[in-house]
Every structure is written in structure tokens, then in C-alpha cells.
């Protein structure tokens, strides 16, 4: 057995274990961390398929940013496990339907050999083949417009999220840092020239 195959089985086993623990872990924070582990192993699997850009982008975007924010939210919420479990049986039929649908779709993908996917020519890539460069070439030439439109849609989503939560407080006391930096000492303190006030010695009253 090739070393790559052993690695594939290790990564897949860890992925499946982590994915199972995501739905079975009692503590939501543990569940999120197992999801991170699953992402990491999927990235490793993609790396084995020589899709290094996808693998590293997955780690950078999902593990490095999205899941951190997820973890933030989950850590701050006070989730009551018992209450979450109450709706289990009533939601089961819908959940089972969605689950079966996903299994069926995945089966179609995985049974590619049966549907004739094996007839596609296998790719023999040279050693200096750069997945990232090829992806960039296609993305910025053939699919430049869809790519830009997708990014604008994401930008709209960001602006909407900001606008939905933006509240102007009336008692806001925030200071403008550039005003603070622009302050000179003479704006704050005025030196006044004046004649010195000399305290005259009080004449002593004798005999007291």
C-alpha cells in the first residue's frame, strides 16, 4: 500500500469521527471544536488530491475566521442542552428526509464509476503544476464577471449586516483620534504674562 493511501485512510477516519462527535457532543463548544477538526482533515484530504489552493483557503477562511466567530457566539450563549433536545422527536421526520436526500445525492456522486465518470481521462500533472496559478488564470479571465459579481454580493451582505445592527447612541462619547492628535499645547493652555504679586509683610500687632 502506498504511503498516500495510508494517509488518506487516517484523514478520512478522523474526519468521520470528528463529524460524528459534532452531532453527539453534549457541550456545544466541544461540538464546534470537533467541526474545526473535521474541516482540518478535509483540507488534508484536498491536499492529497493536489488541490492545495482549496485546502489552504479552507483552513484560512473557515478554520481561521468563520469558526473563530462561531466559537465566539457559542461560548457566549448559555445553551440549555435539555431544552434543545425536547423537539427531537417532532423534528425527526423532516430531519430524516433531508438526511436521506443528502445520502442519495452523495451516492450519485460517489457511484461515478457506474455512471461513466471513469471514462474521463486521468490527469497526469507535471511536478511544477501550480493549482493556484491555474485557478487564478481561469478566475480572472474567463470568469472575471461572475467572480466580481459574487464578491459584490458578499459586500452587500456585509453592508446589510452592519446596517441591521447599527444603532446610533445619543450619549456616545467617542472621540475622534485625529482631533486628539491635532491638539497643540497652546490650544489647551494659555500662558499669561502678568506682574508678580508680592505678598506684603503684614504689620505685626504688638502685644497679642
Amino acid at each position: 500500500m502506498e504511503f498516500k493511501t495510508i494517509l488518506f485512510y487516517i484523514f478520512s477516519a478522523v474526519t468521520i469521527f470528528a463529524a460524528l462527535r459534532v452531532i453527539t457532543a453534549r457541550n456545544p463548544v466541544h461540538a464546534v471544536l470537533f467541526l474545526v477538526l473535521a474541516f482540518f482533515n478535509v483540507a488534508a484530504l484536498w491536499m492529497l488530491l493536489q488541490a492545495e489552493f482549496l485546502a489552504l483557503a479552507l483552513i484560512m477562511v473557515y478554520v481561521g475566521a468563520v469558526m473563530v466567530l462561531f466559537l465566539f457566539v457559542v461560548m457566549m450563549l448559555d445553551i440549555n442542552i435539555e431544552r434543545v433536545r425536547q423537539g427531537f422527536w417532532s423534528n425527526l421526520p423532516l430531519g430524516a428526509f433531508v438526511g436521506l436526500l443528502m445520502v442519495a445525492e452523495m451516492a450519485v456522486v460517489l457511484s461515478g464509476r457506474y455512471f461513466g465518470l471513469a471514462n474521463f481521462p486521468s490527469q497526469n500533472l507535471p511536478a511544477d503544476y501550480s493549482n493556484t496559478k491555474e485557478l487564478a488564470r481561469v478566475l480572472f479571465t474567463e470568469f472575471a464577471y461572475p467572480f466580481e459579481i459574487a464578491s459584490v454580493i458578499l459586500l452587500v451582505a456585509i453592508i446589510v449586516a452592519v446596517m441591521l445592527t447599527l444603532r446610533k447612541r445619543k450619549d456616545n462619547k467617542a472621540m475622534n483620534p485625529s482631533d486628539q492628535i491635532a491638539v497643540k499645547s497652546r490650544d489647551r493652555m494659555r500662558l499669561v504674562k502678568m506682574a508678580p504679586e508680592v505678598e506684603l509683610p503684614v504689620a505685626e500687632k504688638g502685644g497679642e
Partner: protein, 361 residues
């Protein structure tokens, strides 16, 4: 180097070498990689130890003090003594802590700090993994480092570490963006994601032809990005003046309040290993890596070491000079100053590269 080592073993074992080699050969790539990992990590951990010493000395001199001078000649054994002390201290667990995650926290902090060194080229050919997407790998691995802080902050089950963990992760995610955007300009002018090729791309240019290579490195044409990268680097490793993560006046000592002994030492190691990593990355991306500043001196690892040492000195110097930033100012600097600046500069560099005035061909 590999053939030299093998030749040495062949000489050492004499006639016994041939049967031994048939046993060793299948696993030899693995052994050789492990040897290279040790060759990178051992000097790295030693420099981490002496960076702490150097920091205390330099800050001491800047504050007209002497600094550590008791242990060994000129205090040189101080980091060893500190290490021994931490090593023999008990690792305490808070009673309500999540034990497994409490142990995982420091591991998640130090692992990315060490793993990132796999793609750093020290000299031509001196690199553990000369991968095509080296820059992406560095960004991906350094973005994982934030987990060590979040996990330890949460698992401690204590208020101050949790506050610090939230501050730290917000800060690190914000400054990762400006660092990544600053690196995009470097990628544009070097036309590669491979770190070795990024260094080699800096060896060409008008000034390099005149013999002053130092003016051909990326720092001069991309000067604003060099500044953004350096400052974001300091914020990314949570060093002063951006060290609100462990602002002792506000939140005691950050996410490692509840840690003691070796588990605390691992956070410490991770912070300094990350500092050295940022120094190495700055030297490679902007200061020409192992290239010599002038053509009459030979290139080599010593130049990279000298550049890293200067960047590290800059970090220590800044720590001794500036008071701590307020938290909202840190966020403002990252999001309202650096991100727009880098976005505009990407456009400027793009237009510059396409115009007839381009210096990158």
C-alpha cells in the same frame, strides 16, 4: 548535504553499511525529514530562550538599568535558569476547568508557531518544504494560532482569561486581514507564492544592476505596505504597544492567568517563536531574505539572520518606547486605516505594474 551524511555513515559502518542500508532505505526520507525538522527547531527554541534574555537586557539598558546579570557570566544563563524553574513547577488545574481543553490550549498555541517554519527558506535550497503555495500555507497556519488563545481562555472557566481571549481573537483576525492584503502586493510584484522565488525576484532591478541590491528589495517600492506589514505583525503577535491581550493594568495577565509551570511556558515559547517568525517573514518578503545588500559581499544565511535580528530589535525597541494602545484605537487602526490603505495600494501597484513606468518586468 544528504550525500555527505550518507557518505559519513558509510565510512563509519564500513562493510556493515550495505545490509544496514537495505533496512534503512525505505524509511530514509522520513528519517532525513525528521533530522531537518530538528535542525530547524533546536536553534529556533534556543533563539527563543535568548530572545527573552536579549529583550530584558535591551529594555534594561533603555531604562538605564542593568538587566539580568546574576546567573552565569553577564547573566547569560538566565534563560536556562528560567526554563528550569518553569519546568519543575507544578501544573495547576482550576477546579472548574475543562481539563482536556485546558491542556489542548497551550498545544494549539505552540504547534502553529513551530509548523509555520516548514516553508521558510533560510538560504538557497535550505528549506524543509519548498512548496508552490508557501505564502498561503503561512497565512493558513498563522490563522490557526488564535485557537490556542480562545481554547485556553474558555477552558480556564475564569472571567479575565475569557475577556483576554475575546480581545485577542478579535485583534488577531483584524490584523490578519491587513497583513494578508499587504502581502498581496508582494505576490503581485514577485509573480509567485513560493517564498524562495519571492526572494529571488528581489535580486533583480535597476539598483541591483548598479551593485546596491538593498534598494531593489521590496521595502522601497512597497514602502507603505512594508510599514503596514511590520505594524500589523506586532499586533498579530500581541506585542507592545498592542498587548491589550495581557494588559496587566486591565485584565491581570490575559488568557494565561490560570496557567502555571510548563503549560505557561508553552504560551511564552509560542509568543516568542511567533515574533521570530514574523521577523523572518518580514525579512523574506520585504528585506530580500538571504540576499546581500551590496554586490561585493556574498549572499548567505548570515544576511537573513542579521535582518531578522534587526527586525526583532525593532520590536523590542518599540516595546520600550510606546505606551499601550487603547483597545478601540487598535480596532480603528486595523479596520479604518490599514485595510483601506492596503486596498488602495493594491490598486496603485496594479496600475504601476501595467503602466510604462513599471520597474517589474
Amino acid at each position: 548535504m544528504e550525500t555527505t551524511v550518507l557518505g559519513f555513515f558509510e565510512w563509519l559502518w564500513g562493510p556493515l553499511w550495505a545490509p544496514l542500508w537495505t533496512l534503512v532505505q525505505p524509511v530514509w526520507p522520513l528519517i532525513w525529514t525528521l533530522v531537518k525538522i530538528v535542525l530547524i527547531l533546536a536553534p529556533l527554541l534556543l533563539s527563543v530562550a535568548y530572545l527573552t534574555f536579549w529583550e530584558r537586557k535591551i529594555i534594561g539598558w533603555m531604562q538605564v538599568r542593568i538587566g539580568p546579570n546574576r546567573v552565569g557570566p553577564w547573566g547569560l544563563l538566565q534563560p536556562i535558569a528560567d526554563g528550569m524553574k518553569l519546568f519543575f513547577k507544578e501544573v495547576l488545574f482550576p477546579s472548574a476547568a475543562d481539563k482536556k481543553l485546558f491542556i489542548l490550549g497551550p498545544i494549539m498555541a505552540i504547534a502553529p508557531a513551530l509548523a509555520a517554519w516548514a516553508v521558510i527558506p533560510f538560504a538557497p535550497g535550505w528549506v524543509l518544504a519548498n512548496v508552490n503555495a508557501g505564502v498561503l500555507y503561512l497565512l493558513a497556519i498563522s490563522s490557526v494560532g488564535v485557537y490556542g488563545i480562545i481554547i485556553s481562555g474558555w477552558a480556564s472557566n475564569s472571567k479575565y482569561p475569557f475577556f483576554a481571549a475575546m480581545r485577542a481573537s478579535a485583534q488577531m483576525i483584524s490584523y490578519e486581514i491587513s497583513m494578508g492584503l499587504a502581502l498581496i502586493t508582494v505576490l503581485m510584484v514577485s509573480n509567485s507564492l513560493n517564498l524562495t522565488e519571492i526572494v529571488v525576484a528581489q535580486s533583480a532591478g535597476r539598483f541591483a544592476d548598479m551593485g546596491i541590491g538593498a534598494l531593489s528589495w521590496n521595502w522601497l517600492p512597497l514602502l507603505p505596505m512594508f510599514g503596514v506589514y511590520l505594524i500589523s505583525g506586532i499586533a498579530e503577535v500581541n506585542r507592545a504597544p498592542f498587548d491589550v491581550v495581557e494588559g496587566e493594568s486591565e485584565i491581570v495577565a490575559g488568557h494565561m492567568v490560570e496557567y502555571s509551570g510548563m503549560s505557561f511556558a508553552m504560551f511564552f515559547l509560542a509568543e516568542y517563536a511567533n515574533m521570530i517568525l514574523i521577523a523572518a517573514m518580514t525579512s523574506i518578503f520585504f528585506l530580500g531574505g538571504w540576499l546581500s545588500p551590496v554586490s561585493f559581499l556574498p549572499d548567505g544565511f548570515h544576511w537573513l539572520a542579521a535582518k531578522m535580528a534587526s527586525v526583532l530589535f525593532f520590536f523590542l525597541w518599540i516595546r520600550a518606547t510606546f505606551p499601550r494602545y487603547r483597545y478601540d484605537h487598535i480596532m480603528r487602526l486595523g479596520w479604518k486605516v490599514f485595510v483601506p490603505l492596503t486596498l488602495v495600494w493594491i490598486l496603485v501597484v496594479g496600475i504601476w505594474m501595467m503602466s510604462p513606468l513599471t520597474i517589474w518586468k
